[in-house]
């Protein structure tokens, strides 16, 4: 936002309160637990963050248009289960679809994306044409998708994946640079371009700013929204595909509740739930804050019950600090 010209340390610290807070934590942990700053742990973080960022990117677009998407987590789960089912070894014990052809791994990804895109389309139509509030529309979709996932998997956990699936999800370039991290970067760059250098992006912000005004200025609000929810759904599909491969198995519970974490991460990163405001860099920072926090708390060996409390507090404090920037001083 509008910074005063002259450098003001206090202000800078407060304006970047979250980052500062976190850096302190990181520094502390790095000192007490040297392995925390090891290259491997940094790569771990990148790997853990990848699916989260991909989900958060999808959600952020919804948030920017004053919307939201509560079906994210369940779609991740459905996609994880589906890709898992389609990519089980031919001889995997208890193959769910025993005589399903051995499709190319990318084809499977596309199938999952296509399926989720359909749900995204429904979300979009329900929200824009039936003008159902996004919160409720996607909440309903959350239940529907969950039900479908259960029907598809029959609540049986999926495992015994093909080597190529494991390769594209757990592989490392030159044995060091995780593919997942590469996917993260690609996704972020594409979204950054769309948000800043396309009409779709500008329209998205305009709708968030004032839907009526956008409409009157010739923006096709309905179409824009539908595209946003479809894209988001595709991102969830990708995330689910990666998450399942990363964990070497999937169940209907996978991804449960991720939507809330994603929304929280976006907000921490400065995406306004009141629409119109939000940057890709922010989304990434938001997720990073979350993942760093989780990993730091684990390294500190904090009692798991207290970890919930700690996370909750951090969310609130982080955002309270961040909001300060956007409130016009009175």
């Amino acid at each position: 936002m509008d910074k005063t010209k002259k450098f003001d340390l206090k202000k800078v610290l407060l304006d970047n309160g979250i980052i500062v807070l976190l850096m302190l934590l990181v520094i502390y942990v790095s000192i007490t637990e040297p392995n925390f700053r090891s290259f491997r742990n940094i790569m771990n973080l990148a790997i853990n963050a990848a699916p989260r960022v991909i989900i958060a990117l999808g959600v952020s677009a919804c948030l920017i248009t004053k919307g939201t998407d509560l079906s994210a987590g369940r779609m991740v789960g459905l996609s994880a289960c589906l890709s898992g089912i389609m990519l089980q070894k031919a001889d995997a014990p208890g193959k769910v679809w025993p005589d399903f052809p051995q499709l190319n791994v990318w084809v499977v990804l596309l199938i999952c994306m296509a399926l989720c895109a359909v749900f995204g389309l429904i979300n979009g139509v329900v929200i824009s044409y039936l003008s159902v509030p996004a919160f409720i529309g996607t909440l309903g979709m959350q239940m529907i998708v969950y039900g479908i996932a259960q029907v598809v998997t029959n609540n049986v956990p999926i495992g015994g994946y093909r080597a190529d699936y494991t390769a594209v999800t757990q592989g490392k370039i030159g044995g060091v640079f995780p593919l997942l991290f590469l996917y993260l970067i690609i996704a972020a760059v594409i979204f950054w371009f769309v948000f800043n250098y396309t009409r779709h992006g500008k329209y998205m912000y305009a709708i968030g700013g004032n839907e009526v005004a956008a409409e009157v200025s010739g923006v096709n609000v309905k179409k824009t929204k539908i595209i946003i929810y479809i894209t988001a759904a595709c991102m969830y599909a990708i995330a689910g595909f990666l998450l399942g491969g990363k964990s070497g198995g999937a169940s209907t519970q996978m991804g449960n509740g991720y939507e809330l974490e994603a929304i929280a991460a976006c907000t921490i990163g400065g995406v306004s739930v009141n629409g119109g405001i939000g940057k890709i860099s922010g989304v990434i920072i938001g997720v990073a804050v979350f993942e760093l926090l989780k990993s730091a708390l684990q390294f500190l060996g904090l009692n798991p019950n207290l970890q919930y409390i700690a996370q909750g507090i951090v969310i609130v404090v982080a955002i309270a600090l961040d909001i300060r920037k956007y409130i016009v001083k009175k």
Binding site: Y197, R199, K202, Y205, G209, N210, E215
Partner: protein, 501 residues
């Protein structure tokens, strides 16, 4: 009794990047109407918001009846006997008119141990004050059903009903028509005679002449001076405001209408109480004024042409070829643009930058290779417009919501200049715009006309209507009741048609 009802000394206030107020003084005598004038962005509203506790002033002192007061929020302001009509309407559309009027001070009665809202008293009181401002509405009606001007009147009724010692009116008449203004003035005079003081902000010289005793002028957040109204001429006022001579209010209307550009035929709304069988023609290079009383449905008619409202019948032809307009997008694609009446509701993109607000309607012109936008070119476009309309802002990245009312209006106009349509519909285009800026806007309209564009201007200001229209259509209660050519137009013959119920 103190010498001054209100005294503000050396008030300063700055926002990030803007020094909105710099050591402003304001002295209001008891039982007078004190005019506050200045260009858009001069700081009038900010000054009043500081007084009312909406903003906290960086420095300065406030005295009410000689007593130093320290007001931190509107509640305290009200308790100090201040009331205010805000420049930006503050309606709660979903609630009743009465509830809007008595918000923050609902009358209650004791029922046993309980404090219960006294709906009866509230509605009766509200009714009384509404009649007073010539707004004979049922106070139990949902406020949202009213037009902007009607809401404006409700706000006024609310302010005067607060029995305050000092009432601040920030451009109260900006969306009122003459008879509503008359009603307002009657109340103001009447209260003034009972010792109530007023601070009256307006860009309409004539009004201020009629109503105010003293005048304080501001320029760019600085204090210029205070005069008794009778001791200062209009020219001096303008000179002090804009800091330069301004010979006349309307530029020469030297455009020449050509052949028919837009043909509107037999438009009828889906709502029985709205516009019916409206037909008219707009010529190339013509400025066509639309006059009428509030509720004449001019806005509705234009919004219907623009694809915002639904019709049962009606056809639009552009250059003789019929258009099929279902949404504003269609209209814009066919070269029709519209500046809507409700700036905040359907104009500004609040939390977006001025740049985004200006470019949003014309992004199609800046696409390269099918997808990528040339943000460089867009920024240039924005800078041009900020210059051309002298929009008062620290930068093109500033959020539009932080601009002064008038400057926001200028941004919206830029949006359509950038889009460059063949037909531009302007609904109350100079609402809340200062004299200097008005002149600029008229010039723009005329130069557009000279480029062969057609311009439709809805205006509730008679002089403006007469001053810058080549031709005037007059509406009354949904029907087009008459047509007057620019040169023979007079207040009288427009009024005549405007009242053909």
């Amino acid at each position: 009794m103190a010498e001054y009802r209100l005294e503000m000394r050396g008030v300063s206030k700055s926002f990030p990047g803007v020094k909105a107020l710099d050591k402003i003084n304001l002295k209001v005598r008891p039982g007078t109407v004190h005019a506050l004038m200045g260009e858009n962005g001069a700081g009038k509203s900010t000054l009043m918001k500081c007084l009312f506790g909406i903003y906290h002033m960086d420095e300065g002192e406030v005295y009410v009846d000689g007593k130093k007061v320290d007001i931190n929020n509107p509640d305290e302001a009200l308790h100090n006997g201040l009331a205010m009509v805000h420049q930006e309407l503050q309606p709660v559309p979903e609630r009743t008119i009465a509830e809007n009027m008595y918000l923050g001070r609902f009358p209650t009665k004791k029922v046993g141990p309980l404090q219960v809202i006294d709906h009866k008293t509230m509605n009766e009181e509200a009714k009384k004050w509404l009649d007073n401002v010539k707004m004979p509405f049922d106070p139990k009606k949902r406020l949202g059903n009213l037009s902007i001007s009607q809401m404006q009147s409700v706000e006024i009724a609310k302010a005067v009903s607060q029995e305050a010692k000092l009432i601040i009116l920030d451009e109260p008449t900006s969306s009122l028509t003459d008879n509503e203004v008359e009603a307002l003035f009657r109340i103001v005079r009447d209260l003034r005679d009972r010792g109530v003081s007023f601070v009256f902000i307006s860009h309409k010289m004539a009004e201020l002449r009629k109503i105010s005793d003293d005048i304080t002028i501001m320029r760019d957040g600085t204090y210029v001076g205070t005069w008794e109204m009778k001791n200062i001429s209009d020219d001096d006022i303008v000179k002090n405001m804009v800091g330069r001579e301004l010979t006349n209010i309307y530029p020469p209307l030297d455009n020449t209408p050509g052949d028919v550009l837009l043909e509107v035929d037999n438009f009828t709304s889906i709502h029985s109480n709205s516009f019916k069988n409206c037909s008219f023609k707009l010529r190339r290079g013509e400025i066509l004024g639309f006059g009428g009383l509030v509720g004449a449905q001019r806005t509705e008619l234009m919004e219907a042409i623009f694809g915002i409202r639904h019709t049962t019948s009606g056809e639009v032809k552009l250059n003789g070829k019929p258009l099929n307009i279902k949404s504003p997008k269609d209209a814009i694609r066919n070269g029709i643009g519209m500046i809507t009446e409700d700036r905040r509701g359907s104009g500004i993109l609040g939390c977006l930058s001025i740049a985004d607000n200006i470019s949003i309607a014309s992004l199609d012109h800046y696409v390269e290779g099918g997808v990528k936008l040339n943000n460089g070119k867009i920024e240039k476009l924005v800078q041009d417009n900020i210059g051309k309309l002298s929009i008062k802002t620290p930068s093109s990245k500033t959020l539009i919501q932080s601009l002064s009312g008038g400057n926001q209006q200028k941004v919206i106009i830029s949006r359509w200049l950038a889009n460059n349509p063949d037909v531009l519909i302007m609904d109350e285009p100079t609402r809340g715009i200062d004299v200097g800026a008005k002149y600029e806007i008229y010039q723009i309209m005329i130069s557009l006309a000279k480029q062969g564009k057609g311009i439709i201007m809805i205006s509730s200001e008679m002089p403006e209507l007469i001053g810058v229209s080549n031709r005037i259509m007059v509406m009354c209660n949904g029907k087009i009741t008459g047509e007057v050519s620019g040169d023979e137009a007079t207040q009288e013959n427009i009024m005549y048609f405007a009242t053909q119920f």
